[in-house]
Symmetry: D2
Subunit: 214 residues, 4 copies
């Protein structure tokens, strides 16, 4: 079970959430990563939590301004990166290029997609993991595993049809351990969360519930 | 064997090339389509040639300005559309949406991609056909089937691994019947051409050579 | 007074609206242009109405697939083009390049922008006209000239401060002659309309009201 | 005189260059800023050098993944940001939105543009500074102040015509104090550099030459 907490550009304290996540991960021996703003990667990584970028660009060292180089985020402490989140949809060629950039820099990748067909597509590009997130459920508090269970199980089926070695995560509306359990039953090997952790009063309690209930 | 002649935004006479293609297709019973500028679809279709769009947007009827609706190009006479050409790379979600838009309007699709991994990805989206075109060979006059035969055969293999019902075309540098033969031997079921037909003095002769030599 | 009817990608009959616009323009000696889907430019132009494109790309003749060349839309009968509509926002460099492409092909330009500061910016690029359209009012039926009159008068003031020779149009929610009158009183020299003409039962009656009431 | 050193995504040591820039700025009482990768802002700022971002997005706190929030880069230590560099061209509306985001977070802005007309456009958006950089000279080692002096003086004239309170910087090919002097004589109040500092053996010597020669 892999839990990725996407801090987006929320008005939260990334270090406080990262510390809570690091503690919970230690306590219950779960894998929890936090994906902060790129400018906050260094301070988040210094908490000891597994730190991910929200995006890297399909570039190498060179003349590229205002883009995020995989080596730079790795250097700052990230060990993985999301790609193609529904709030940062990428050109197909740049998903492919971003996966290569991440591999070059030693970063794992979770490539997001909206539906099972697109999950099949991104699985064909050989990322470490893929994640299905129906955009219409993001931020709703209605977990994808209840609102649209078929989309999760069909995404798992489609991904396996292309490459069985690529695990499928799911996201959108996940906020409790029950949601996580439901996701796991549908074949998901992890979840993406955001507001359910980043915008609550006690992220530690939420994270503990998430990873111990399973 | 399916030949798509992409007129790009070349300074050519689209009607002259379309008429030549219509004649050659009749004479030798080959399938040849011409993909002109969107504004020229109507006049190209009026020659009787099979007419394709170079692109349609992932939209429905509604409030969308400056985008090309699949129904509009179908209305003007197109029966298919290219998508994700390397000169018009799309977001993954928009390739998926463009394929759906095209199906809704009764248009066939050829989805282009740069390399075998991306060919696998777009095949997972269930277009009618896919086309591998290494960007570095486009416009060179060096046919992909000679310069990089492995990319074609690997693209065919990858596409078949995802969905065997989707034929693979290839493009870049194709200009003679020998190039077409080589492409067919590698498993390609068609070719994309552009400058090799659009920028020559006698497009009819080139097209005849292309489709009779096989 | 210049009236531009943007047909967007509405499910309307472009030729019927174009014919109505051509008739009204003749009857009352008003300037009315219709901006259809690019694939419909040829048939709209054949009605005799002043025909505009909704967009052209910042390209020249050459290897560009799936983009709209200014010369092609001119060839099909367009005499002008919108640029940077809020539903097709462009990079600054591409607004500049689009204006140059349009001039090269003999097309007039109306460059849209969301607010007075952006109107100042696009006026500095020397298009034929600019148009202020607050995105939040588009399609509402609440005319910008009533809902936010200051935005129109301030846009006029800002544009004049940069280059007094560039007329300012306005758009969003315009549907009656009274709306047009209000816009003119605020310094606007024309209006952009869309649903107010394209989605009504009797476009001829609406257009007549629009241009005779002033 | 304001010198901005853009580290792009070069394979350089950002802390080493930042330390050199901090020392030179202290020694000669010059204003020198360093713009590293976003993930490196925190470590660069910790050297005491004036630290700038290469880009911020036109967003507020909220649900935005993979975009750079102005408050986050400010938080990490940046006091300004480039916008619309020719390697990261933005939509006009996003330049406007990026300037607003930067002001909200207390960041200064230098908005880049390719030519005098675009400089006039971005000046109308009221950034702190603008910078003209002809893309064809970037990275050439041929300084814009020698290769195309008219573009600099015309940019200054155009910017002043729109808003005299906005200083004009210039960039592309600048690497010596003589280049800087020439830029100043043309009306420029600062320079943007990149490879001339980031890819040399002794950045301290280059920076000293740049700011003491004037």
């Amino acid at each position: 079970m892999f839990v990725v907490v996407n801090l987006k550009s929320y008005a939260c304290d990334p270090v406080e959430i990262a510390s809570a996540a690091a503690d919970v991960a230690d306590d219950v021996d779960a894998r929890i990563a936090v994906a902060p703003q790129t400018a906050h990667i260094e301070r988040v990584a210094s908490t000891g939590v597994e730190t991910w970028a929200q995006h890297v660009d399909s570039i190498e060292h060179g003349s590229h301004t205002g883009q995020s180089l995989a080596e730079s985020v790795a250097d700052a402490g990230a060990v993985g990166t999301l790609l193609n989140h529904s709030e940062r949809r990428l050109k197909l060629a740049d998903i492919d290029g971003g996966i290569h950039a991440a591999k070059r820099a030693g970063l794992e990748t979770v490539v997001c997609a909206n539906n099972p067909a697109q999950i099949g597509a991104v699985t064909a590009l050989s990322p470490e993991m893929v994640a299905v997130e129906p955009p219409e459920l993001i931020g709703t508090g209605t977990p994808v595993s209840h609102a649209d269970p078929d989309i999760v199980s069909e995404a798992v089926r489609t991904a396996n049809g292309v490459d069985e070695s690529v695990p499928v995560l799911c996201g959108a509306g996940i906020s409790t351990g029950d949601d996580v359990d439901a996701a796991v039953e549908l074949g998901s090997e992890g979840v993406l969360l955001a507001s359910g952790v980043a915008k609550v009063d006690d992220p530690r309690a939420v994270l503990t519930d998430l990873v111990t209930n399973e």
